[in-house]
């Protein structure tokens, strides 16, 4: 009898796992997919929101694509219970599916600030395709938009919102914007840049209620004046979709705790992506990294292991990049480690900012900020990622970088970072191009 793989969830981790199973397996297995939504890429929703791509562009696995991979798909269904002793998953319509191994990749959901009126009319989240559709329909030129939360999600859609010709105000609870992506110095530069580009920023602002007022929304705060808006966007965080596993016996902390093969506490149940609490490459500790690259790597490693290979995962690296009004901001790894030695460089007139964080002679984190026109004429964004990822010793260059943290390239090249990175692959073999997945027969 062929091995039966069950994939629960249809996002990036799930699609990567399915493709990798078909790439790696020596005997054809049965793959069953349970997904509440048609598989699409969340990462590209901002480009659907700014109307530079059509809705059809967001889908990562269409019905014919799934048929070509010979996946039995339950689209529009949610898993409601997992019996890990009987190896049976029950869906919301009562269907039961038996499996030999199972991947839980149920992703995450947007969380709204817990205030009265948070679920009212013209208050939107932006995390799923349905939410994106709802927001697009509500935006019209000249509208007043208030975005609650100045985190990564908020900033990935900031340009898209402005592209609708609206007046935008961003309010943030923390003392500075992007509190989980950059430090206060970088945030100060971004705030000034955005203010110069006509965006209103209000930090240290605790929302207390959203009320209806003469066809508009009125936002009230613990301190300071009310705000009026036509549309409110709640970008106030996400949470892992793990409620359905309550009572299953699977260990869940921030997310589903997984080992170095991405197995949960139940060995034939894997977890990947936003829902998994796996190894952080830099600290070695468990962490939920709700970012695209972690979902991709998790999904590929699980797919290979489900297909019978023995692939150990080194851990995932936090990498984030956003562009707002042609200012690029990126951070890597342990950029926020307050105990690490840090080297910074600041040129406020460009503006340009660098922060390098060290553990001994090795980079453990970095922040880079600058106008797009500056940033994309250098190799520095990727090289900083490579230095953090490889952990090469920069001993001879540390003093030089202290004097000039903008001069990354000579240190990167002379540290032979390329030689360290070239043998490195996630699956222990060269990657295949998308669309070149052989379907085992």
């Amino acid at each position: 009898m062929p091995r039966r793989h069950l994939i629960v969830g249809g996002g990036t981790a799930a699609v990567n796992a399915i493709r990798t199973i078909r790439e790696e397996e020596t005997e054809k297995s049965e793959i069953t997919l349970v997904t509440a939504e048609r598989p699409y890429s969340r990462m590209v929703l901002p480009y659907y929101l700014d109307r530079s791509i059509a809705e059809g562009h967001v889908f990562t696995a269409t019905a014919p694509g799934l048929a070509q991979w010979d996946v039995k798909a339950h689209v529009g269904r949610r898993a409601s219970r997992l019996d890990v002793k009987a190896n049976v998953c029950t869906l919301d319509d009562g269907t039961t599916i038996e499996y030999d191994d199972c991947l839980v990749a149920t992703g995450s959901s947007a969380v709204r600030a817990p205030v009265p009126g948070a679920d009212g009319r013209n208050v939107h989240s932006f995390w799923t395709l349905d939410e994106a559709r709802g927001l697009i329909a509500s935006l019209s030129p000249g509208a007043q938009v208030v975005m609650v939360g100045a985190g990564f999600i908020s900033f990935t859609i900031l340009n898209s919102i402005l592209s609708h010709g609206v007046a935008l105000t961003v309010v943030e609870l923390a003392p500075h914007i992007l509190p989980r992506m950059i430090d206060a110095t970088a945030a100060g530069l971004v705030e000034k840049w955005l203010t110069d580009h006509g965006v209103t920023i209000r930090t240290d602002a605790r929302l207390t209620a959203i009320e209806d007022a003469k066809g508009k929304k009125r936002l009230r705060f613990a301190r300071g004046a009310d705000l009026t808006a036509d549309v409110v966007i709640m970008a106030t965080g996400i949470k892992a979709n793990v409620e359905w596993l309550q009572g299953s016996g699977i260990t869940v902390k921030q997310g589903i705790v997984v080992d170095d093969h991405l197995r949960s506490s139940v060995p034939n149940v894997y977890a990947a992506g936003d829902v998994a609490e796996g190894r952080d490459l830099i600290s070695g500790n468990g962490a939920v990294h709700a970012i695209e690259t972690t979902a991709q790597e998790h999904g590929r490693v699980v797919g290979a292991n489900m297909a019978g290979r023995d692939v150990r995962y080194r851990g995932s690296l936090i990498i984030n990049i956003v562009e707002v009004c042609h200012l690029d901001v990126a951070s890597f790894g342990a950029w926020d480690d307050t105990k690490a030695a840090a080297i910074t460089g600041l040129r406020p007139e460009r503006p340009a900012y660098r922060k390098l964080l060290w553990s001994g002679d090795r980079l453990t984190g970095a922040i880079i900020l600058g106008p797009s026109s500056d940033i994309w004429t250098t190799n520095d964004v990727g090289m900083l990622k490579g230095l953090v990822q490889s952990g090469v010793s920069l001993a001879p260059f540390r003093a030089h970088l202290e004097r000039n943290p903008f001069d990354i390239k000579p240190a990167y090249v002379a540290a032979k970072t390329t030689a360290v990175l070239l043998p490195e692959t996630v699956l222990g073999r060269p990657s295949k191009a998308p669309g070149e997945t052989p379907v085992a027969v």
């Binding site: 969340r42 690259t293 190799n379 990727g382 990622k385 001879p396 000579p410």
Partner: protein, 158 residues
């Protein structure tokens, strides 16, 4: 075996013809800032070396792309499919070599695609510091850079 760009830093004079040729092939304009091969100075601008994509086995850019917009072309190079690319820049930070770029005019990612198998930079180089050969890719600049930077660092420290 596929061909790769072999970089010979000791032959590079820093003339930047590779950048002109590359930018013309990649963007249709003589615009070195948009070249995907970049010449860097070493040792206080007394020596130079070109630097570009190694076409690494992992293809961090390709596996990071959320919409499958990076593929492997006939020359074996990781290549951006413009119509699929949405400009999200994930490939540019996933690449640990710093060899995927973003075009601020087209709002797309772009990188070395070996010009489909006939790389313009290798043609343009007057000193054969860039050659196109059937070899395994490797770290072409590490030893050169280590030697050339050691002297400059010693001066700085003095």
């Amino acid at each position: 075996m596929t061909k790769v760009l072999v970089l010979h830093p000791e032959r590079c004079t820093g003339c930047l013809r590779c950048e002109l040729a590359c930018s013309y092939m990649q963007t249709g304009t003589y615009h070195p800032a948009k070249s995907v091969i970049k010449v860097s100075p070493f040792e206080g601008h007394t020596s130079y070396a070109p630097y570009t994509c190694t076409q690494c086995a992992e293809g961090w850019c390709m596996t990071a792309c959320p919409v499958g917009a990076i593929t492997i072309n006939v020359a074996g190079a990781k290549d951006v499919i413009d119509d699929r690319c949405v400009g999200c820049k994930l490939c540019t930070i996933a690449c640990p070599y710093g060899t995927v770029f973003y075009d601020t005019d087209t709002r797309k990612a772009y990188k070395c695609n070996l010009c489909g198998g006939d790389p313009a930079c290798a043609h343009a180089c007057p000193t054969a510091a860039i050659t196109y050969e059937e070899r395994a890719t490797e770290d072409w600049l590490g030893d050169f850079a280590r030697e050339r930077t050691a002297h400059a660092l010693a001066l700085e420290a003095a």
